[in-house]
Each structure stands twice: as C-alpha cells, then as structure tokens.
Symmetry: C2
Subunit: 153 residues, 2 copies
DNA sequence: CAACATTAAATGTACGTACATATATTTGCA
DNA sequence: TGCAAATATATGTACGTACATTTAATGTTG
C-alpha cells in the first residue's frame, strides 16, 4: 500500500519529505512485527539480539563492552537489558576473575533452549517480517539506496 | 558507506537479513540526526510534530483524539507529550465547553514563535537530514520499494 | 429517569533510549 | 609506593512507546 494511503496524507511537500516519512513509518512497521513475534516468548528484540550474541560466544562469556560493540544501537543500555535476562534466568552474570571491573555474562541452558524454540518458528524469515515481496534484484537495489541515503556532504 | 562497514559485520546470512538490518540502522541514523537538530530548541521530534499539527489547526483547538489521528505512531501517548508542551508554555489545555470529556489544546504565541525559529533554520531539509545524495528518480524508486516491502501475502 | 454502555482522556507499569554521573578496579608513571 | 588517569560497569533522570486500567462525562435504552 502506498504511504499516502497508509497514513491518510494525500500529498507531501516534496519527495524528500515523503521519503523521510516513508522510511520512519516502514521501520516502525517492521519493528512492530518483530516485537509481536517475540512477545509470546516474553522477549523484546534487544533481549533476543543479546541472547544471540551470547550464544555466539558460548561457552565463553561475554562482557558488557562486547555486547555494546556487537549491538546495532551503541547508546542502548546493555547493563539493564542484561538485568532483565538475569531475572528470567536466561543469562548469568558473575564478576570476571581476571579483571574484577568486568563481568562475565553467559547464556544458560534455559536461554539456549528458548532461543532454539524462537528460531524453530522461523520468526525472522522474510514472509513473516515483510520483504518477501521484493526480488533479489530489488533487495540489492534497496540496500544500495539505503547506503547512499546516509552519505552526507 | 556500506552497511557492512558501518556496523563492522562483513557478511549477512542473506539479502533479506541485510535489508532488515540496513532499514533499522538507517531509520535510527535518521532519527538521531533529527533529534540532534531539535535539541538546541529543547524539543523532541514528537513534540515538534504535535506543534505542527496544532499550528495547522490554529486558531481552532485540537483534541487529544485529533492529535493521535494525525500522528504517525498511533500508540504513542499524546496526553503525556502535551503535558511537556504545557509545562514549557508552548501549548494550552482547557476543558472543552461543548464536551467536558474532551480537552481543547491550542498552540500559544510562544509556541508559534518557536516553530518559526526552528523552521527558519531549514532543519528538515535534505542536506541536513541526509537523502540529499539521492536524485529525484532514486527517491521515487526508494519510496516504491518501501511501499512494496510492506506488502505481505 | 435510572442503569448501563460508550467515549475521551489520564494514569500506571514495564521497557527501551539518550545522556550524565557515580563507583569500583586497574594501570601507568612520578 | 602512591596517586592520578583510564577502564568497566552501574545508576539516575528525562523522555518516548506499548499496553492495560481508571476516571469522568455523555449517550442510550428500557
């Protein structure tokens, strides 16, 4: 559906403004679908992403600094997201013996099992998440346009 | 810059995953730039958008329901955003005489003046906000791809 | 008219983001 | 050694989003 119809605004001042609004709206649309997909498992998207990073490290621990480095959004507060995962016993947090400033964060068996159940449902495949309607060629074009959009000066 | 380099992840499992991450990342990138542009004026983006809606109604009042209807994000909490605008005296809130359940929200002279100052700086033009690097043709294509992306089934 | 449903907005709670500051530990160097 | 700087994380505050519940006013219907 065209963005004009989605948000019931028949006309934009220019194509730039339309693209800005379309981009924000579409990103929000995608985020809502992702959040809804995780909800039955009691997870948010940032929590899911951290669990995946921890599984990538498993059985080695990760530190908060490593999580921040791997996360898309650098300003998000990894400490507090880990807090919630600890409460749900999906993750453990222990002082790092080698460097007592740091903490060792590990995914638990429960966490691994939950991650497995979430992924078994193919929650992130394009059909569920949109984008299924774009061809490989269109996806490539789309990625190029996004990259170009961010170039300033 | 390519998304692979932006987030230092050299490879994606497939083009879909790359597009999803690229879309989220780019929308976040844009939102950061917008927030930074409004910050010197003590405004957030939702506050700015509500001020614009109120100016569109001026000198008539708007209700909370009208604001929600016009806002991109329907689940955001217009009541509380208006709270902050009232505190800053950019907006007034009075009980609607015709329907005492509703409230009449009006932009003040201070609010109009602030909006004028913000816009005088061209804060939302494509050069400041990115997208300046895209041609008219590319913008059209980009909008079409976003619209198509959201079609499911 | 009274009882109940509907409507409009406000409030509460959980979570995340953005940014500043605090606390504890380690490192480096005079 | 001792002390300042750097490092790793936690905490605090303001704001917004998502969603449920509450409060007050208005409609509706028997």
């Amino acid at each position: 559906m065209r963005i004009e119809d989605e948000i019931k605004q028949p006309v934009f001042r220019n194509q730039y403004e339309k693209a800005i609004i379309n981009l924000s709206y579409t990103a929000g649309w995608l985020q809502m679908r992702q959040a809804a997909a995780f909800k039955p498992y009691g997870l948010t998207l940032p929590q899911f992403n951290i669990l995946r990073i921890l599984r990538g490290q498993h059985p080695c621990p990760a530190t908060v600094a490593l999580l921040i480095d791997r996360m898309l959004d650098k300003t998000s507060n990894a400490s507090r997201i880990v807090d919630r995962l600890v409460e749900k016993q999906l993750v453990t947090r222990t002082v790092c013996p080698a460097n007592r400033r740091a903490v060792d964060i590990r995914i638990t068996e429960t966490g691994l099992a939950l991650l497995g159940r979430v992924e078994a449902n193919n929650l992130l495949d394009p059909t569920h998440m949109g984008l299924g309607s774009l061809s490989a060629e269109e996806l490539g074009l789309f990625n190029d346009l996004l990259d170009k959009l961010r170039t300033v000066e």
